[in-house]
């Protein structure tokens, strides 16, 4: 399961700070929502369910966007062990 590093600070307005590197990032509102769901330990299926209840979207595009988003989180080294279990 994908886990966000514990020391990463995420503000309610979508500002992300990595104290390990000093780098900061911004999230758009859906990015913030998804990162918080990941942080709360939800699986992909649960996240998909929650998001599709709230937003007008199809599962196929969501899957594409979700994995593109999480690959960016890995790329930016914001996930534990680069996201591997």
């Amino acid at each position: 399961m994908l886990k966000i590093k514990k020391n990463i600070a995420i503000s309610d307005s979508g500002f992300v700070f990595d104290p390990g590197t000093g780098d900061s990032y911004t999230l758009n509102p859906t990015g913030l929502e998804i990162i918080q769901l990941i942080k709360s330990g939800k699986s992909y299926e649960e996240i998909l369910q929650e998001m599709s209840a709230k937003y007008e979207m199809d599962g196929e595009s969501f899957e594409r966007y979700f994995y593109d988003f999480t690959s960016m989180l890995k790329q930016m080294r914001l996930t534990e062990n680069h996201g591997e279990d």
Binding site: D23, S24, I34, I35, M57, F66, F69
Partner: protein
């Protein structure tokens, strides 16, 4: 309960780098219409990708350029540079506006004749004129701009066979203070070769020397260079009159004015840095007016601009094929137009926009064409909105050189549509098909069959 609109999730690093002090905006306004015609509907009717040319933009740009010169100088003539865009419909818009034709090969010469341009209003430039081309242009009383001594002697030898006196000018190259210096075309001014050529033509008496021509470079951002060039040509004209009593009918300043496209590596966008037609006109006409040429003998001023007159009128619209991530996490967007049809992507940071409004979010993106070739890059890095597969884009200012230098490589050249003054689309060049390509090929009998 109605659901909310979903925007794809994104995360972006905040870079505390050195932004431009003017803080140029990253937001790219969509362009949905050209001359009030929806780009989406044009793509639906004519396919993707598609070149779209605006006739009213051509006419407006022409009038603007011509006014800049004619309001400063008594006798001005434009000659349409065929190599910049020789689609017949485009050429004829310029001819309707009053342009003569400027051609640089036998093929372009025949194209101009076939479009209905009278032979004596065709300027024949360039280093490649065959004996047959020269004979034809002498008979048609075209204006032959001599590039080298071999050509001069070819014309002299043709005067023994043809009754008509050839109308000629020489092309002059010179130092105008710019780099690179173009010295491969014509006769050099500084080393005296141009003066030598003029004296030989005057001594021969079988040629009718009408003018002087120069073309100092391409995509010129400096108006001073034109001022220097015009002064040097004027000086040659004055010397000709002093020594031979010969009055030249015209001075042809060539073309080379920059368009508003941004060159690769430029710090500021071309829209901010390119001199206006008025700036170029002021430099050239003031040099001629203040020269020693007597007011009664002021020659006709000919200009052969191509790029600056047509670039703005051309658009290339198409669709996104796919998105992917590069090894470093950067976004890559693949579109259906490659460098094979957008040759100018090698020189310019083309202005590419979404056709419809998409999210406010942008990401550092590389835009690739569809070719299976590493060089097929339309924009190296651009803050670009997140277009999805199937979304449409439009690229501005592609009217110059693309419809002439495009290649049939890997895929076919697409349709070209002209929007007339009322916004009505006219197909002016059909897309190529497999049959177009195969019709030119011949397969030997023994290679027609094979077993696999």
């Amino acid at each position: 309960m109605t659901k909310l609109i979903f925007e794809r999730p994104i995360i972006q690093q905040i870079n505390a780098g050195l932004p431009s002090k003017y803080g140029m905006s990253h937001k790219l306004e969509p362009i949905s219409h050209i001359d009030n015609v929806s780009i989406k509907s044009l793509i639906e009717s004519y396919g993707s990708p598609l070149f779209i040319i605006s006739e009213s933009t051509i006419r407006k740009t022409y009038k603007n350029a011509f006014r800049a010169f004619s309001s400063r100088y008594p006798k001005v003539q434009f000659a349409w540079s065929y190599k910049t865009n020789y689609l017949n419909a485009v050429c004829n818009v310029f001819h309707q506006e009053g342009s003569w034709a400027e051609v640089v090969s036998g093929f372009e010469y025949d194209k101009a004749l076939k479009n209905g341009v009278p032979g004596d209003l065709i300027i024949f430039n360039g280093p490649d004129k065959s004996r047959e081309d020269l004979a034809k242009s002498i008979k048609n009383s075209s204006l032959i701009h001599i590039d080298h001594f071999d050509e001069l002697y070819e014309i002299i030898s043709l005067t023994k066979e043809i009754e008509v006196k050839p109308k000629v000018a020489i092309r002059v190259n010179m130092d105008t203070g710019i780099y690179p210096r173009w010295d491969r075309f014509g006769f050099n001014y500084e080393n005296g070769e141009a003066w030598d050529a003029l004296n030989r033509i005057m001594a021969n008496k079988k040629l009718d020397l009408l003018g002087l021509h120069t073309h100092i470079g391409t995509y010129m951002m400096s108006t001073d260079a034109y001022k220097i060039a015009a002064s040097k040509l004027a000086e040659l004209a004055v010397r000709l009159q002093q020594k031979h009593g010969h009055v030249l009918q015209y001075i042809d300043m060539g073309g080379g004015f920059a368009s508003k496209n941004t060159l690769k590596g430029a710090y500021y966008p071309g829209t901010d840095t390119t001199p206006s037609f008025d700036d170029f006109a002021e430099a050239i006409t003031s040099a001629l007016m203040s020269s020693e040429i007597k007011p009664d003998n002021l020659p006709l001023l000919i200009l052969e601009n191509g790029r600056a007159l047509i670039d703005d009128a051309g658009y290339l619209a198409g669709s996104v094929l796919a998105n992917k991530r590069l090894a470093d996490g950067r976004r890559a967007t693949i579109i259906d137009a490659g460098v094979n049809i957008l040759f100018t992507a090698f020189w310019y940071e083309h202005d590419i926009r979404p056709v419809e409004p998409v999210s406010e979010q942008t990401e550092d993106t590389t835009i690739y064409g569809p070719l299976c070739m590493n060089i097929d890059v339309i924009r190296g890095n651009i803050m670009f909105p997140l277009l999805k597969k199937g979304d449409q884009y439009v690229i501005k200012r592609v009217g110059a050189y693309n419809n002439t230098q495009w290649l049939q490589f890997i895929s076919m050249r697409p349709n070209v549509v002209l929007l007339d003054a009322n916004g009505k689309p006219h197909l002016i060049r059909k897309n190529e098909t497999l049959e177009t390509i195969n019709s030119q090929e011949l397969t030997p009998e023994h290679l027609k069959n094979f077993d696999l």
